[in-house]
Assembly symmetry: C2
Homo-oligomer: 329 residues x 2
């Protein structure tokens, strides 16, 4: 059922869109985000040093830092115009390579290097091609200046076998250390066919994703792993969902940790509901949801849309979204 | 129960906040929003003309237009720096006064003038004092240049009796036309003690509000009115909630129409749940939620926080919020 009010609203949107596009054309300003993951989540002085290295580049900004001692991992969110973002990220990667030793690194999250993964993400109207080019240049620079083997992944991958991070990470740093020189299938896209203590790095390009965790009030790690296996796409679960079960620092809490690669295909609401139901069947309750880093407004607004049955609610319903558009002109 | 991960997250926020505040001081750029309401929701050429009048001021931007034929009312959302926003709004008010005749205007929403109400709202770190001053200047200009009686309301009100719009609107335009010249309690703050066909206008300042409607699948207008009466603050209901029951263009749908004056005190989630329960008790189901105009990100994020049990989720969890902060520096 659609009321006349809804029809009018839609109609007016058309008018407004038309008016906006009728003004003078605007130069599109390329904006990108980069979310490098570092294999250090416990030593504060090391995390601070890596973050500081990225902080002094005009045109790029460290928007968020998220660390987890059990994963022994830190994620920075850096955004701005392409050149400055790449410069900030490279400085952080170089600092990480100098300060992190994979031979002594332990954590529950799989990893191949001091800087484990460097994804470039297009923001706003920026094209994926911009991020693929950034990834290739970054890969070449890391290989040339830091002597680190680099794999291109995601949209920047040069073979299907290297598109998915879980495939690239099989066996982790330890396997690369043992076999990189002898197994041709492990040959990097750039850099030497051997690893030092900084390991290897995956550099790529992808759409914005939501790193989303749900914690469960149980000590049963097997349950988190079972639920993760059931919901992830690679096991026939929900589209565009990667999921793993993890322990946490609290022995009475386990975590289903996810990457939602496209929340238009599978929303946070749906994932939460599936996990809640699966846990409830075993008499376990959900403790809470958690974002790792930042989320695109669209993904969060979509949760509100579903839970309060909004006929229409998008990131454009937010005052701040319009201010941002205005400010970036 | 707080896990170590949560504690770390909080701690890092402290570090990040400190880093940000440690950079050079920034000039705060005053930003305001104005949400004028016009008594025209059917004639497209009149609505277009009013919107166009506001569109050509550099430094101000018409972000949204929402109209409703049954209310016979249009709401523009205009944002930018204070002077330009005031200029854009004044032009729209002048156009509305020339094109709208209250003697022939009918609609279910109470109103006193062609431009019924002009609220100024501080955005970001802008102070309420900026908006009170804008309101007083706007009131004086409307009175002087358009010969329209103006009442100051909200934070700009000069007496308690004029703080609330519902009090100002009692008896509407028709009462002002009959009694403005003779009833001293109706004397305007600025302008003549008589109304022409453009009626009178309330000009004020307020915190950001969320104009939020919930539609019910019933022809029973009495039910919408009963629910509105039960939930509104003035009848002892929910804090910071104004509510009315309305008919819609669809005879099988009625609407509970609300202003949420402070979603930190009463959230959209709570209001929705109360309405859903009250309707269900009479066997009526909620059709959908609807925003009128735009909402502050905080109000929408809070819905997602509650429904997915996020331990922490604010407007600062959105990538776009950080980009906006960066863009406005």
């Amino acid at each position: 059922m659609r009321s006349r009010i809804e029809l009018l609203s839609g109609w007016f949107n058309g008018v407004q869109a038309q008016m906006v596009s009728g003004t003078e054309p605007r130069a599109a300003r390329a904006l990108v985000e980069c979310v490098p993951n570092f294999s250090e989540g416990t030593r504060l002085e090391v995390m601070d040093a890596i973050q500081s290295a990225a902080a002094d580049v005009a045109g790029a900004r460290v928007l968020d830092r998220h660390a987890d001692a059990v994963h022994n991992r830190m994620v920075l969110t850096i955004a701005g115009t392409p050149g400055p973002v790449a410069e900030a990220v490279f400085r952080a990667v170089a600092r990480g390579a100098a300060l992190i030793d994979l031979d002594t690194h332990r954590g529950v999250h799989p990893r191949i290097g001091a800087t484990d993964v460097v994804p470039f993400v297009p923001l706003g109207a920026t094209g994926m091609d911009v991020c693929i080019e950034l990834a290739v240049r970054m890969a070449m620079r890391i290989a040339a200046e830091l002597d680190i083997p680099v794999y291109l992944y995601g949209e920047a991958a040069r073979s299907t076998a290297r598109r998915r991070l879980p495939d690239l990470r099989k066996g982790e740093y330890e396997r690369l250390k043992a076999e990189l020189g002898t197994d041709p299938s492990l040959a990097p896209d750039f850099g030497p066919a051997r690893v030092g203590p900084a390991g290897a790095t995956a550099v790529g390009a992808r759409r914005p994703l939501v790193a989303y965790n749900v914690t469960l009030a149980t000590s049963n790690l097997g349950l988190a792993r079972t639920i993760a296996r059931d919901i992830r796409e690679s096991n026939g679960g929900l589209p565009a969902v990667q999921a793993r079960g993890f322990a946490t620092a609290d022995p009475n809490v386990v975590q289903v940790s996810m990457n939602l690669l496209d929340t238009r295909r599978t929303s946070m609401s749906l994932v939460f509901e599936r996990i809640r139901e699966a846990a409830a069947q075993r008499g376990v309750r959900v403790l809470q949801s958690e974002l790792v880093g930042l989320a695109p407004a669209e993904a969060v607004v979509d949760v509100a849309r579903q839970s309060l049955q909004f006929g229409r609610l998008t990131a454009n319903s937010l005052l701040e979204a319009h201010l941002l558009e205005q400010a970036l002109e």
